[in-house]
């Protein structure tokens, strides 16, 4: 073997392979140019993706890994995909399952004009547009998510259903209603949570509003980073709860886990990876609770989270975890889960809870700190 001649040859081969790879990437970049607008040709949002093939065709990948094709309302039906995969945009009538999806519609400014069906009854809504819409009969209660009234759904004539439940897709296919699965097997990271609005934007042709929303959240995050970067104290945080048979927490890959780390704090479940509200063992929960400073419970006041004492009574197992004995416990207020259109405020509030020293005089709007004991009811005079 003549090494002096083989090395240049091999070097040339490596160079050719590198060029081939670059050529493949270059074709992708050129595709960006053909989309014909300022939006990127390809955008990945966690497990969701948008691929702008041409001005008249955008392919999206939803949370269940299904490919859907967005076409203008007047465009002919494409021949290369099933009708149930085709969505005409901008969508004018939409039914939605999840609070988060509806909050995103609100962030895009299309909620009042497009929402025609929800799976939560009127009394549980805190969004004024939905309360008004349900009162006026513009928005229908379609039944509980586990038992949708398909007759009512059909009467509402949605052009699109946003759902977390893939099991409804065969029935929606029969009704010729396209559906997008808006949840994923793994929890949304902070970036995906912030950018999800950009995933839904092409359905309503509201890309500019989505970019403005993202910029607002991004600015809030930068502010959080700036305020907390130099702080010496790093509180230990846990987020979850123990129920009758199961222990559920937010994993480290979820947006709350990432936010806690970003805000100069230590998330106790950062090594846990998986779906949002993931199940762990009681032992792990109690172990992490030994030295935690702050505990965010899933439970609201209505679910019994009125004080540390009440939580301990609900679940004697957790009575000895550090946040209940000497730390702080926070419960979400009822409108928190419906407030994702104000994600910047929510992120700031969580940061203010972790580092009150960086946010003097901050008033909580989405969470409440639980007192040690049950508040004494005021005596009637």
């Amino acid at each position: 073997m003549n090494r002096s001649t083989s090395h240049p040859v091999l070097g040339t081969l490596f160079l050719l392979l590198a060029l081939a790879v670059l050529a493949a990437c270059d074709r992708g970049d050129r595709a960006a140019g053909t989309a014909g607008d300022s939006e990127p040709a390809f955008l990945q949002v966690g497990e969701f993706a948008i691929n702008r093939i041409s001005p008249d065709r955008t392919e999206v990948r939803d949370g269940a890994g299904r490919t859907l094709v967005l076409i203008p309302r007047e465009a002919p039906m494409p021949a290369d995909c099933a009708p149930s995969q085709v969505i005409r945009v901008p969508v004018q009538r939409v039914a939605a399952y999840g609070y988060f999806d509806i909050a995103v519609l609100r962030a895009l400014g299309v909620l009042e004009q497009t929402l025609v069906g929800v799976t939560v009854p009127a009394k549980r809504w805190h969004i004024p547009e939905i309360k008004r819409g349900m009162e006026a009969g513009r928005i229908a209660f379609l039944g509980d998510a586990a038992s949708i009234d398909y007759e009512r759904l059909k009467q509402s004539e949605p052009e699109l259903v946003l759902t977390w439940d893939p099991s409804v897709i065969p029935l929606l296919d029969d009704l010729h209603i396209p559906a997008v699965v808006t949840t994923t097997p793994t929890a949304m990271c902070l970036n995906a949570r912030m950018r999800f609005v950009q995933f839904l934007a092409p359905f309503f042709q509201k890309e500019r509003e989505a970019d403005a929303y993202f910029a607002r959240i991004d600015a809030a995050l930068r502010d959080i980073r700036a305020r907390t970067a130099g702080l010496a104290h790093q509180p230990r945080v846990m987020w979850g709860d123990i129920y009758e048979k199961r222990v559920m927490v937010e994993p480290g890959n979820a947006w709350v886990g990432e936010l806690v780390g970003l805000a100069q704090s230590d998330y106790q479940f950062k090594d846990v990876f998986g779906t949002s509200c993931i199940e762990i063992t009681v032992e792990r929960f109690l172990y992490s609770g030994q030295d935690a400073d702050i505990f965010f419970t899933y439970r609201t006041r209505e679910m019994g989270a009125t004080s540390k004492e009440a939580l301990a009574k609900l679940n004697p197992l957790i009575k000895d975890i550090a946040p209940l004995k000497r730390g702080k416990v926070y419960a979400p207020l009822p409108h928190y889960t419906q407030g994702a259109d104000r994600l910047d405020e929510i992120l700031t509030e969580i940061s203010a809870i972790l580092h009150p020293e960086a946010y003097p005089d901050y008033q909580l709007h989405y969470f409440v700190e639980l007192p040690d004991t049950e508040p004494v009811p005021k005596e009637r005079s």
């Binding site: 081939a20 992708g28 970049d29 048979k245 199961r246």
Partner: protein
């Protein structure tokens, strides 16, 4: 020109190149191990959208996390070429030497000497099969079935109906946290080709082949008898994969080479030692 080609051929068959590639592959896979951590959503679409579209979208937009994969493709290509050239050189030598001897025993010895090279060719066919899979597979994504619902296979008269979801749950006591969880997901399907009907059992590790397609269980619900009550459903990948035949052929070739190699080892080398 002829001399340059000869130099190129020799260089590609060099054992130094083999060793170098193996070291580079190891280093690249270590890089890949760290790059994959919590970035599976980047690579999952590779299973259904094909290599070229993936390279143009997910791959090229996340080079910091996917660079190792591009390098892996390049290294595996070089390894396949290196293996082919090296093996072909040796096979040519063996066949040339065959003219020096005659007789059944001699031919048998020659066949046994070819064993490692048959394995090498098998490996190349397997790699080509995987490449064909990632380049040419037609995948229908996100097909969900609930009991009683069906899906039609494009381009055929075939129809698949979910008759029942019949999972096996963990009933033991040793793993308390696993109790009542699904340990084997099984779906009973009715396959209708327009003229006849037959039942088939689909599970995570046992795809069902029908009308040129393979049906793979991707996800299912419910996953447990406890907890949140989810409606019964199965999510399928429906694939038409031309690479399967190729890498099955590669596996057969590799197995044949391995069998010959072991035979030679047992019958001749051990005998010589004794």
């Amino acid at each position: 020109m002829h001399r340059s080609l000869l130099v190129l051929w020799r260089s590609l068959g060099s054992i130094n190149l083999t060793v170098g590639l193996c070291l580079l592959l190891t280093a690249d896979l270590v890089w890949g191990y760290f790059s994959l951590d919590r970035r599976m959503p980047l690579f999952t679409p590779l299973n259904d959208m094909g290599l070229i579209p993936w390279m143009q979208t997910y791959g090229s937009h996340n080079l910091a996390a996917t660079g190792w994969f591009f390098l892996l493709l390049a290294l595996l290509t070089l390894l396949a070429v290196n293996t082919f050239v090296c093996t072909t050189n040796r096979v040519v030598q063996l066949l040339a030497a065959r003219s020096d001897g005659r007789g059944t025993g001699h031919r048998r010895r020659l066949a046994l000497k070819l064993a490692p090279h048959i394995m090498h060719y098998g490996l190349i066919v397997i790699l080509a099969g995987y490449l064909a899979s990632y380049l040419c597979t037609q995948v229908l994504t996100g097909r969900t079935l609930v009991p009683g619902s069906h899906l039609s296979l494009p381009g055929t008269s075939g129809q698949v109906t979910l008759l029942a979801f019949e999972p096996e749950h963990y009933r033991g006591t040793r793993l308390a946290f696993w109790r009542n969880e699904v340990i084997t997901a099984r779906a009973r399907l009715l396959l209708d080709d327009g003229t006849s009907k037959q039942e088939a059992m689909l599970s995570c590790t046992r795809p069902v082949r029908f009308q040129g397609y393979s049906l793979h269980l991707r996800d299912f619900a419910p996953k447990s008898l406890d907890g949140m009550k989810m409606k019964t459903r199965i999510d399928l990948y429906v694939r038409k994969d031309p690479g399967v035949a190729l890498y099955l052929a590669g596996i057969v070739l590799f197995t044949l080479g391995l069998a010959l190699y072991l035979y030679e080892w047992i019958m001749y080398r051990e005998a010589t030692t004794e």
